[in-house]
Symmetry: C2
Subunit: 114 residues, 2 copies
DNA sequence: TTGATATATATCGATAGTCGTACTATGATA
DNA sequence: TATCATAGTACGACTATCGATATATATCAA
């Protein structure tokens, strides 16, 4: 799963939201690192609905503007949990290796990757 | 960064390796979850070399077969470290939300995402 | 009142990384 | 002698994301 899609699910794990709300929330949740593009967002929502990870949760008109709400399904929550554990695990493995590498570089800079 | 590319760097963090060796190592490192395709691997290696994250580290002929060796550069190690922290952080944020959501679902199943 | 910014969604061509498959070739094993 | 593991090359197809454009309302500043 790519990062934008991951953040769509993570955003909805917080509760029911509308498209633009997801964009703002994902930016905040990622400390500004993830700025979902509108094309990416709505394409992802369509796809995630087809996969059953997200469901439409009502349209509302607020201040003359349409808001399309979405919410996470239980399979969506499970998928996000699996994906989170996968990424945490990947990060741990890579960090372990980088730490060992750093130890080698300190000991012998030129043969660090030998 | 996508998962296959991440594992190419993670594999090389362990030391100099040849293409096929990276495929085997990535599979082991990921507990069998990541099986790099040859097309993906060599395309990634070409790209990572252009980006300066990886360098060719000599060709060898072993048992009549060509082996193309690669190693991680310092910028490559830094990129992997940044990417690992990014993924660990993303996973933490998502897991936090899932835990809060689970608490809500236990308290009130039908209004969990309201 | 004109322009800029924020909110909110729709749509679409281009891009990039990955996948899938086929191909060549050697050495080891059954 | 057939199959599997090793090792690399090549290329078309796929798909999520990007980047841009369009539409529309509300608010605020110049």
């Amino acid at each position: 799963m790519r990062e934008p899609t991951f953040f769509v699910l993570a955003s909805l794990a917080d509760g029911r939201k509308h498209g633009y709300g997801i964009i703002k929330d994902a930016e905040e949740l990622s400390d500004g690192r993830v700025r979902l593009k509108v094309g990416t967002l709505y394409a992802a929502l369509d796809r995630l609905q087809l996969e059953g990870l997200v469901v439409a949760a009502g349209d509302e008109i607020v201040a003359g503007r349409l808001r399309r709400y979405f919410e996470l399904t239980e399979p969506g929550a499970t998928t996000l949990a699996v994906e989170s554990e996968r990424q945490a695990s990947n990060a741990r493995r890579a960090t372990d290796r980088l730490n060992k590498r750093a130890a080698r570089v300190v000991a012998s800079p030129k043969a660090a990757t030998a």
